[in-house]
């Protein structure tokens, strides 16, 4: 325990950051303890040896490079001082442009506000009426209709049921699409798919309701007839 404590102070001893009492304590201990004495001697030997490493001088280049760098830095600082900054330029410009009397300052602020609001309004309107967005919307609508119609012409019940969900996304079907939908309601062989299509068509426009009423008289499936009648009844409310 004592050895560990003493060894912990060896670096203090070598460096010289040690008080007189601790120094005496180490010296007394190493006189009696061979192991600690050997270690301290070994550490002291290499520590002392390091003293033979000479302090070297750098070449003159170091000084020359430093003073060149310092000179360049000073010149750069000087240039920055003489060159007016953008912020200062703008401040000066605004100061010259600003009217002196508060009433004129208020009027100028009001005019700028009105100009800003007007410009914002027209810019917003211009964006809303953008032809490209309208054209894109039109194209998306056409794609939905084409897909719905092509799925309606599928033979399988599964595809037609899938179409029911898709066709409901066609907000206002054109005449051709509508004709395809109604043909499916009128002529499909399975009541399930006809019900799904009916659900998708229901209840979009007066024209659709009229067509559905006409097809009511041609129905052979009681379930489809009830659904058609029900849809007609609901749209009256």
């Amino acid at each position: 325990m004592k050895c560990k404590q003493i060894k912990g102070k060896f670096s203090d001893y070598l460096i010289g950051e040690i008080d007189e009492f601790a120094q005496k304590e180490i010296q007394e201990h190493v006189t009696a303890c061979d192991s600690c004495r050997e270690e301290l001697e070994s550490l002291s030997a290499i520590w002392t040896k390091l003293g033979v490493l000479p302090e070297e001088q750098p070449s003159h280049n170091v000084r020359a490079r430093f003073y060149t760098t310092l000179e360049e830095y000073k010149q750069k600082m000087q240039q920055e001082k003489t060159r007016p900054k953008l912020g200062i330029l703008l401040d000066g410009w605004f100061e010259r442009m600003m009217p002196r009397r508060p009433a004129f300052q208020f009027s100028l602020a009001l005019i700028l506000l009105v100009v800003g609001l007007t410009a914002g309004y027209f810019l917003h309107a211009g964006l809303q009426g953008g032809g490209e967005i309208d054209q894109l919307r039109q194209e998306v609508r056409q794609v939905r209709q084409i897909t719905a119609v092509s799925l309606l012409r599928q033979e399988s019940l599964r595809e037609q049921l899938k179409n029911a969900g898709l066709s409901s996304q066609v907000e206002l079907p054109d005449d051709e699409t509508l004709a395809d939908f109604l043909r499916s309601v009128n002529s499909d062989t399975t009541p399930d798919s006809r019900l799904a299509i009916l659900d998708a068509l229901f209840p979009q426009s007066p024209k659709i309701r009229q067509e559905l009423a006409r097809s009511l008289s041609e129905k052979t499936s009681p379930v489809v007839e009830i659904a058609l009648a029900f849809s007609q009844q609901i749209t009256k409310f």
Partner: protein
């Protein structure tokens, strides 16, 4: 040469009187050169690093607080410059392979030859230590930094610094002993 005047000069540099950096350069460039030389073992690299340190002092002069000793701030910049240098070189160059000896054109007397061999062995032994151990020996033995200053510089406790110094000297002794062919001197 007291720390108050170093601090005072650096405060002036910070506040725009960069001319005063010349005084600090004259005081510390040799010390920094030897710090880098013992770390890298290469004179050219050490000179470049000294230049890099003073360029960084100019670049970061506004960040100088003046609360701590100026040399600690300078060593912090120096250590960062060295770390960046090592990063650029990918891995640490083995000093054992690259320690460049001072040129000598005259035939040397035997005692000088012996001293030169001793110096070479010590440099090689130092080079064999890991960077941190080498650095702590250099700072405590050659740059005369106190425990407290080393702890502040390395961001650790004084107790850790003491233990590291002890271990580093022990390892250096072992490396030197092996290089001497196992003959203790």
């Amino acid at each position: 040469m007291n720390k108050a005047s170093d601090n005072n000069l650096m405060v002036q540099v910070r506040d725009g009187n960069v001319e005063k950096l010349a005084v600090l350069f004259e005081r510390y460039h040799v010390m920094l050169y030897n710090f880098f030389l013992r770390l890298t073992g290469n004179r050219g690299i050490s000179e470049d690093l000294v230049q890099d340190v003073f360029v960084r002092v100019l670049k970061y002069r506004a960040s100088y607080q003046g609360q701590n000793k100026f040399t600690i701030w300078l060593y912090r910049i120096a250590r960062n410059a060295h770390i960046d240098f090592l990063r650029k070189r990918k891995d640490e160059v083995s000093l054992g392979e690259q320690w460049d000896e001072a040129p000598s054109h005259e035939p040397s007397p035997p005692e000088k030859v012996e001293q030169a061999q001793e110096i070479a062995r010590l440099n090689l032994a130092l080079a064999q230590l890991p960077l941190k151990k080498r650095e702590i020996i250099i700072l405590s033995r050659f740059q005369n930094l106190k425990y407290k200053e080393i702890a502040e510089l390395m961001g650790c406790h004084i107790g850790t610094v003491k233990a590291m110094i002890h271990r580093s000297i022990k390892d250096l002794g072992k490396a030197y002993f092996e290089l001497s062919g196992g003959i203790a001197s």
